[in-house]
């Protein structure tokens, strides 16, 4: 009978162990395992009350994983040196009696409440994981050795399960920590990517701030930047911060300290720093944003969040924030440099765009890498036709310019040439060209700069006007466009006509070559005098010269200069005749007439043939006076006489009848000794 009972008992225990295996396999959390195991344990040993406690080394606490017959649920403080006391019973169990005086406090209360008899320490190697506590058996029977054995077997399995769950929990925790580290690394990586992609200072600042707030679980943050020429620190960007109008001075001791130690600072409620007062926050972490030795600003974050409230930032947080700020500093510095360079480039481009000189830059390979608007206008090409092309291709028709560029390339010094024909554009185009090496800050040559000044129009004006006016007048006109009015206008001028007397009949006895050489010699001498007194050569008609004083540029002494010109012309003719007589050429003589009055001046003619000239009665009277003048005579009108009588000797002649005038006009003859 006893053997049968023992067999039954054995079978019962085996069934319990089998059930235990199922519990351990099926349950997926330590709490549910413990609940199942406790129920099974109590059923196996026929006890009504019991509990499984989990021991937490950190905090030296016990928590109740599963309990039957125990009201308490909250964690309880463990007796002093629980682990050490239990170690003595590592391979056995503790029978709870009055000898266990080390069991004190809340654990003792629980044991009394459970009426516990047996306590099995759950050890994995030397590490206490928990306690299995079993109450008294039904009917107050004592525990048999078989029951103690089965309790220990169950406890061993429970220990293994708890250890496994702890391992899993640790792995989960480590996984979570690794994920957070990964997130930190990703954030650092993202910021390093942003360095190369985001070049807007504000946008970048915001990006770094957002990332920092998120990764450090801060509740809010702001990036403070020094205001230019001021000790004030301004929020460059802020996150989750309602009132950013707080006046923060860079002179606050905390910023001075950060500058000195070149590192960030953590503030806790105990610090009572003035910045905490200003911001109305107790938990603050600040890191400098430093590029080399220059502090660009400060990152200020507040309140490290947890599920249970706010806690102090740690050194690890500060290390991470410092790393983010260091990355950010590089990015911000790059962005600032880019902004400066862009502004400088825009400034340079606006200067280059506004000047009239064409500026073309060549890279070290000789290809055009930039050209300003004036350059495109001068070359009559757009940027597509120029950028990227080699200068040899661009200036292939202008070997002189190519030579100039090549000289600069070889000698690395500036070469200039003026009045160069510019066949790239047209046969008529004339340019001044200057080629200089492009030297980088390190002193290395990085290509060339070609400056082209289009002087085609200037050259045209000079070439055109220099035939009619003196160089001095041309220069004056070119220097001051306001003086040049080539449109039609009424103006007061003095007109001088000169005409060789009897030249037509004289030339009949001369060879054509002699006629031409005579006229060329005569006109050359006369025009030199005209230009000497800044007269404008209006026309040469046969042997007649028409000179204007007062157009296109007027002066107070226009009439006096005309008179002086006339006197000098007559003197030169006398000198010329002496040479002619020596050469046995027929002497020549000229009559000159001068008038002053209102004319219409301007470019007059057809679209194909247009000349700057003057027309009107004043001109006609000048011509009539010239006709009336005898050989060597200078006849002037009353108007000329009035202006110059003080400086010249005149003889008043009989008034003459002039075509188109009702009344005779007054005539005066200059008494000269030419």
């Amino acid at each position: 009978m006893v053997e049968v009972n023992a067999l039954d008992q054995l079978e019962y225990y085996l069934t319990s162990l089998d059930e235990l295996g199922e519990i351990l396999i099926d349950a997926d959390q330590s709490a549910s395992v413990s609940k199942g195991v406790l129920r099974l344990t109590l059923g196996t040993v026929m006890a009504s009350k019991g509990a499984i406690f989990l021991y937490h080394h950190e905090g030296d606490q016990l928590s109740i994983l599963a309990a039957q017959g125990l009201k308490k649920e909250a964690p309880l403080s463990s007796p002093r040196n629980l682990s050490g006391q239990c170690l003595k019973h590592r391979y056995s169990h503790i029978e709870l009696d009055e000898n266990q005086s080390w069991i004190t406090g809340e654990l003792k209360k629980c044991i009394l409440e459970l009426g516990a008899k047996i306590l099995v320490p759950l050890f994995h190697k030397d590490r206490l994981l928990g306690l299995l506590c079993v109450g008294k058996k039904f009917m107050g029977e004592s525990y048999t050795s078989a029951e103690i054995k089965i309790l220990k077997i169950i406890a061993n399995h429970l220990t293994k399960a708890l250890y496994n769950y702890e391992l899993i929990q640790n792995v989960d925790e480590k996984g979570k920590q690794l994920n957070l580290k990964l997130l930190e690394l990703e954030t650092l990586f993202d910021i390093s990517v942003a360095i190369s992609s985001v070049l807007d200072v504000d946008e970048l600042g915001e990006e770094i701030l957002w990332r920092s707030v998120g990764i450090l679980n801060a509740s809010k943050g702001m990036m403070l930047m020094p205001k230019e020429n001021s000790p004030i620190l301004e929020p460059n960007s802020s996150f989750n911060w309602e009132d950013t109008d707080v006046l923060i001075s860079k002179k606050l001791t905390i910023f001075k300290k950060i500058d000195d130690i070149k590192s960030g600072i953590i503030l806790t409620p105990e610090d009572k720093n003035s910045l905490q007062k200003k911001l109305g926050e107790h938990h603050i972490i600040i890191a400098p944003i430093r590029a080399k030795d220059n502090i660009l600003g400060y990152m200020v974050l507040c309140n490290k969040e947890t599920r249970h409230g706010v806690e102090a930032f740690t050194q690890t947080d500060l290390d991470l924030l410092s790393a983010l700020c260091n990355q950010g500093a590089v990015a911000l510095d790059n962005a600032r440099l880019f902004k400066d360079i862009t502004e400088a480039k825009q400034f340079n481009e606006s200067i280059l765009g506004s000047i009239a000189t064409g500026v073309i830059t060549l890279d070290p390979l000789g290809e055009i890498d930039s050209i300003n608007q004036a350059g495109m206008n001068i070359l009559k090409m757009n940027s597509d036709e120029t950028i990227g092309n080699h200068y040899m291709y661009l200036f292939e028709k202008d070997m002189e310019i190519i030579g100039l560029i090549q000289m600069t390339e070889m000698e690395n010094k500036i070469h200039s040439e003026i009045n160069m024909s510019f066949l790239t554009v047209s046969k008529e185009a004339v340019v001044n060209v200057s080629v200089a090496p492009r030297i980088d800050p390190g002193g290395s040559v990085r290509g060339l700069v070609i400056a082209i000044e289009d002087i085609t129009d200037v050259s045209k004006v000079k070439n055109t006007f220099k035939r009619y006016v003196s160089k001095q007048v041309v220069d004056e006109l070119l220097n001051d466009d306001a003086k040049l009015n080539l449109g039609g206008e009424e103006r007061e001028v003095t007109i001088l006509f000169s005409d060789i007397r009897g030249f037509t009949s004289m030339s009949e006895n001369m060879s054509p070559e002699n006629v031409v050489s005579t006229l060329n010699e005569y006109f050359s001498d006369m025009i030199d005098i005209v230009f000497k007194y800044n007269g404008t050569l209006d026309k040469i008609i046969g042997d007649e010269l028409m000179i204007v004083y007062g157009a296109p540029i007027s002066a107070k002494d226009d009439t006096q200069r005309a008179v002086t010109t006339a006197v000098e012309m007559q003197k030169q003719i006398t000198r010329l005749n002496k040479k002619r007589i020596k050469r046995k050429d027929i002497p020549i003589s000229a009559g000159i007439g001068i008038n002053r009055g209102i004319v219409v001046s301007g470019n007059i003619g057809s679209r194909d043939m247009m000349d700057y000239t003057v027309i009107g009665d004043t001109v006609n009277l000048g011509a009539r006076l010239c006709s009336a003048a005898g050989p060597g005579e200078i006849l002037v009108s009353s108007a000329v006489w009035k202006e110059t009588q003080k400086h010249c000797s005149y003889k008043e002649l009989e008034p003459i009848k002039v075509k188109g005038k009702k009344n005779k006009v007054g005539v005066y003859r200059i008494e000269h000794d030419g």
């Binding site: 996984g175 994920n179 957070l180 990964l182 997130l183 990703e186 993202d190 957002w210 990332r211 707030v213 998120g214 990764i215 450090l216 679980n217 801060a218 509740s219 809010k220 996150f239 989750n240 911060w241 309602e242 969040e305 947890t306 599920r307």
Partner: protein, 114 residues
């Protein structure tokens, strides 16, 4: 950006919660409150429009995990759309996307919830 706010609406059986602001402890709690209130009414499908929540911290993520756990108990689903790249990356790294789904539009989200 400051102050967290949200609006809740329903499209069929799906509850759409549009958030504005930092999804941290405060923001996360407000989202969970809104979700649990609707779960009490029998709702199981939730979509979060995070267009105006550009920053999420790990506390916000842990609250979302709690919401997912509670939804799993009732065979519910949580999804998101209009995520900023940084938020999507955080969700991926923190393992949130294993148990919930990122959609690229409300329409796609509603289709996924059906």
């Amino acid at each position: 950006m400051s102050d967290f706010s949200l609006s809740v609406r329903e499209e069929g059986n799906t509850v759409i919660i549009e958030t504005t602001g930092y999804l941290n402890n405060v923001g996360g709690e407000k989202v969970s409150e809104a979700c649990y209130e609707k779960m009490d009414d029998g709702k199981k499908h939730f979509l979060l429009d995070l267009e105006n929540s550009k920053v999420v911290n790990s506390i916000g993520v842990s609250i979302l995990i709690e919401i997912i756990e509670k939804l799993q108990d009732v065979d519910g689903k949580l999804g998101y759309y209009n995520l900023a790249p940084i938020v999507e990356k955080t969700f991926n790294i923190m393992g949130l996307t294993k148990y919930s789904t990122v959609y690229y539009s409300e329409a796609e989200g509603l289709e996924g919830m059906a």
